[in-house]
Symmetry: C2
Subunit: 434 residues, 2 copies
Amino acid sequence: MPNSAGTPRAQAHEWTATQIVAAINDGTTTCEAVTRSCLERIEAREPIVQAWQYLDRQKAISRARALDRSGHRGPLIGVPVGVKDIIDTCDMPTEYGTPIYKGHRPANDAACVALTRKAGAVVLGKTVTTEFANVHPGKTRNPIDPTRTPGGSSSGSGAAVGDHMVPLAIGTQTTGSTTRPASFCGVFGYRPTWGDLRATRVMEASGSLDTLGILARSIEDVALYRDVLLGVAPQPVSREPYVPRIGFCRTHAWSRLDSTTQTLLEDAAQRLARAGANVADVTLPVQFEQLETAHRVISGFEFARNFTYEIENHWEEISESLRNGRLKDGLSCSYETYVENRLLVERCRTLLAPVFDQYDVLLAASASGEAPVGSDATVNPWVYMIWTTMHVPSLSMPVFRGPHGMPIGLQVIAKRHDDRRLFAASEWINARLI
Amino acid sequence: MPNSAGTPRAQAHEWTATQIVAAINDGTTTCEAVTRSCLERIEAREPIVQAWQYLDRQKAISRARALDRSGHRGPLIGVPVGVKDIIDTCDMPTEYGTPIYKGHRPANDAACVALTRKAGAVVLGKTVTTEFANVHPGKTRNPIDPTRTPGGSSSGSGAAVGDHMVPLAIGTQTTGSTTRPASFCGVFGYRPTWGDLRATRVMEASGSLDTLGILARSIEDVALYRDVLLGVAPQPVSREPYVPRIGFCRTHAWSRLDSTTQTLLEDAAQRLARAGANVADVTLPVQFEQLETAHRVISGFEFARNFTYEIENHWEEISESLRNGRLKDGLSCSYETYVENRLLVERCRTLLAPVFDQYDVLLAASASGEAPVGSDATVNPWVYMIWTTMHVPSLSMPVFRGPHGMPIGLQVIAKRHDDRRLFAASEWINARLI
């Protein structure tokens, strides 16, 4: 905390967004000092981590100074933020992780960026994404162990927050693109209820699955930033004495998780039960086993049509893995198969809804295990596919350590639009597991 | 038809897309001749109709010539198309109906434009939209009576197709922005099942309601263009002997329709019954009366957040009607009210689904009456709100004439994803009413 941590300027990059806002409003520090602290951290660490696709130090400092002069009192005053590079910015390039858009300059900000700036934040720069938020990896490395992947597709957003370069970053999720890097980089990763946060001028991968994502180092920061992106006055996370009803959901993919992860999850469920929570096993209906295929069909069909311009005009500049993966699958898929899978997903959503009459939240895996060595940023998509298709809000919390000391997340899931309850329950759970 | 209509070149602008494709494939005409015919029509009529925000004659002719040389055999070979000016084009400005984006040049094509070009079409230019596809009107006038509105927000797309400037145009719909201009300009207007056609790089007004729209002069053209935009191989409209089961749906807004329109609709239902269709009255559950409010709440909430960049940076350049209308409503709306209304809409969708076990299609009004005199392009939104919130596909057919000889449409509605059945039933209905 600013008041007890020696020279504030040297430490500010380690603070949460909530702490930064408090310190600026107290007069303990300034927007400029916070921004400089984050920029110094980036300067020291970026050669190893490589989280940034674009960074404009001078523009960030100018913006911070202007905020200091203005007396702006927005809910994110002076908070440095990273923005995934598939999200348009009016004053920085947006390259979507592909050489096709090298140096591309959008005319305006995505809605989420404009809301971020309106709240008084300082957009430091653009964070690395995999190619078109698909599988071909970017340059970013895991800040905890650079021989490992940071996870993707929101690789730079996860790594920058995990490495204390910024307290907050925006990502997106179509499969596990926020949950996975959050788990691998040891931060909180939030996927909101599908459809709640506007994605205007955010690259669409697969519209019926895509959401924004938030990477942060505390639950209260996630809740604060979510309200900003929702365009409403921020409300604190509910602190009322509250013991959540928890469903432990292994899913049909349980046997594919690393055995250490299985043990960590089961141990956590037991600890929460001992702490007083009502914890019970939840078995999903058998139809849920088809959701992996459904996700693959839906995302492929939509992705292949969304990128018609690039397919027609830049085929040779698209990676082999994308051409032979999602594009090939999607282009050969019929409308009838696509619709059949969308309807299956809708039936599963209907089946999932009553589960939340019995449970406030569900617990599930955030990853199969630790971030693997190498550059495969989008490993084990099957961990994420079920939950993303369900359109439910989810928070990955960095509560576990794996056999190599790397972080592993725990995923907490709530009912659609019940994101505030998700945060309250996650606070309760987090406090009992760390 | 080309083979029986004198000099093909002089007449080509009156052909449907299907006729153009057939004539080009037959060698009866060329892409260049068709494009020149449309450009001549535009030259003659544009001073009165003003359907075009941007038109590049030379580029269109060059494109048509290149297609003639290439031997391209796409499903829309040589078909001139107009594109609503809220849809990005890589080689033409995209101004979204506002001075804020005067001369704005996107870097790439929207998915729907790229699919259109891939099919061999000639994008002639950009058609006039109301400001941000909201209520502030553009310059376009009704081609049948220029003292009247063409309807909006897809004003130029409706007028250009109605005036035989192009056989096809893309529009969009958030409330009635395709159905209304189709009715007012005497053309077919199709709103697809929500979510089926990708809207990548199409301006989002309200994502949970927005769809693309197609304006055309025949049902087979609508079906053809829908398959192109869906990215699948075109299938002809089913011609099998088929008598549709028709539900006649007056809705709770019936008393607000012009009495002439009421008479026209009731007479049509009787004629279809006499022609052998099973026609019965359908009364919607009482909850449907709340859908007007729900539409207003949802669209306002989403619209106000989507345009944060413009609100923050260009407030003074936004029209008074938008600032004091949808933006004011949306900015003051809480998340709780927004969600409550989304959930109401979802419940109504569930209530509507079983209606389609009994009926192949529903009949409803496409407009309150004829296009009114004046420039109010988005009159009577209540006609459209129910159906747009339901996410069902809809076709407005120009089968009626009002008291002043102006066209009035009949809206035919089918189950979600049942767009092909919608076309087949509409063919049957259209043949019996014209």
